[in-house]
Amino acid sequence: MSHPSMTDTSGLDLTAIRKQFPILSEKVHDRPLVFLDSAASAQKPDAVINAMVHTMHHQYANIHRGLYWLSERATEAYEAVRDQVAGFLNAPSREEIVFTRNSTEAINLVAYSFGSLLTPGQAVVISEMEHHANLVPWQMLRDRMGIELRIAPITDAGDLDMEAFGQLLSDGKVALVAITHMSNVLGTITPARQIADMAHATGALVLFDGSQAVVHHRTDVQALGADFYTFTGHKLYGPTGIGVLWARRALLEDMPPFMGGGDMISTVTFEKSTWANVPHKFEAGTPAIVEAIGLGAAIEWVEKFGFDAIAAHEQALTTYALERLATVPGLNVVGHPKKRGGVISFTMADVHPHDIATLLDRNGIAVRAGHHCAEPLMRRLGLTATARASFGIYTLQEEIDVLADTLVRIREFFV
């Protein structure tokens, strides 16, 4: 079989990169692991694993309150990550970085705290392609505050329908637009700057769910015109349990706290408490200290390669994968957005996505199958489930060949 050629201009040394991920040399069912589920959660390089272990071996203590050497070192390390994240997002200030458990918690924080400032008659706009994480919190807000939740449609190709989106904004009642920066199902990279400009022109603010997007290209919250931006560590080669909310400082200062407890207060009496300054007002309780340090290591590791190289590598892989998958009989790629990242959902005639995933797994290949936490999107597409392959910095062209060749054999098995 002659395969299309792949033009990877990234200059990344993939052999050296893969050696830094211990799990990639594992075997699954006696086959070399082909891990194509990075969009669900990425694998972790030694740099991240070692940073976390080193912290627990040598400089672990609770932060912000200990008056001893170890606590001061842990506090410094934790707070240094806030600076790193501010740089990573090009945020104007470190005080605008709030650590959360994940992107879901970051969105819930905004839905609760910013949401409590909304009044009936105001509206929030989301899109048809949202992950449940950027959908359910807004439904809960709607039911709690009596606001309206509007759904911006997508085109059949999987792009946001900009004309319909504009119409949803036109009555000036929209307080917030909350939209993914990159779809976890379709791979669509949304036109964030245009969305922000349209929202701002009608007095609405914008939140971007960057869970997928931050992994694949450089993120500049100022250039995007964002008001809120969220992401999670574990998709960025960092640990689970650590996520980020960035918001403009004035917004954070106006918003009431999300959770109450230690570390988020200024003074406490039985009658009344006052709140700490931002961002600490939003970080109640002992945070995920080791995980935050792991996130810092992940960001440092990713930035060492640079997003120009990462984006070039993943674009080349995605283009190659779309070409290869098009040669698999009966395979249908779901969505053909104008601009896409390294996430490809597909169905195969006569073979259910769960059977695809189970048989791929038997052959060492890990993909996701199901509704990808986006049930309304599945309904919009007229599907109940898809299989999804997603790529990371360590993904090889040869792995896409193994995927495509195995899919051909799976179809032959069932038909």
């Binding site: 082909v34 259910h352 048989l359 599945m378 489930a385 040869e398 193994v402 060749d405 038909v415």
Partner: protein, 150 residues
């Protein structure tokens, strides 16, 4: 990293693949005595079961299944195996089928031989995430039989 040959695993017995591709009990009954439905919210799979009962026994079963090969084959083989049983026998068979899937009872190879063709699903024991695929039609069956007035 060339990999040759498809490891189809014992899970995908030819019987399962063939029943999923060409079911023998698919469709609806014109005048079902009872009906039941099973849905799996995790994957969107759905089975509807139509049952015709006489005074005591299941006369005939048809199913409408939208699901994976495991679910579709399980529905078809279930329809085959419960036809002719009385309600108590069908419920008992359902219990023994579930017990086989979770590996209850003997851990040795001596399976419940009374399960007959349903034994093809035994490899699901090592695919815990897929057990619910095979159980879905039986959930629909039990719901249908709960409406039976026998």
């Amino acid at each position: 990293m060339t990999q040759t040959g498809l490891d189809s695993d014992a899970l995908y017995d030819r019987v399962i693949v063939e029943r999923a591709r060409a079911p023998q009990y698919a469709g609806k009954l014109e005048a079902p005595s009872v009906q039941g439905e099973g849905k799996n919210p995790m994957c969107g799979d759905k089975t509807r079961v139509d049952i015709a009962l006489d005074a005591t026994h299941i006369q005939s079963v048809r199913h409408t299944t939208r699901g994976c090969a495991i679910c579709a084959a399980a529905a078809d083989l279930m329809a085959q195996q419960v036809s002719g049983l009385d309600v108590a026998q069908a419920v008992s068979l359902s219990g023994r089928f579930s017990a086989m899937l979770v590996g209850e009872g003997s851990s040795t190879a001596t399976a419940d031989t009374s399960l007959g063709p349903l034994e093809v699903f035994q490899p699901l024991r090592s695919h815990k995430a897929r057990i619910r695929c095979a159980e879905l039609p039986w959930i629909a069956l039990k719901e249908a039989l709960s409406h039976a007035d026998v």
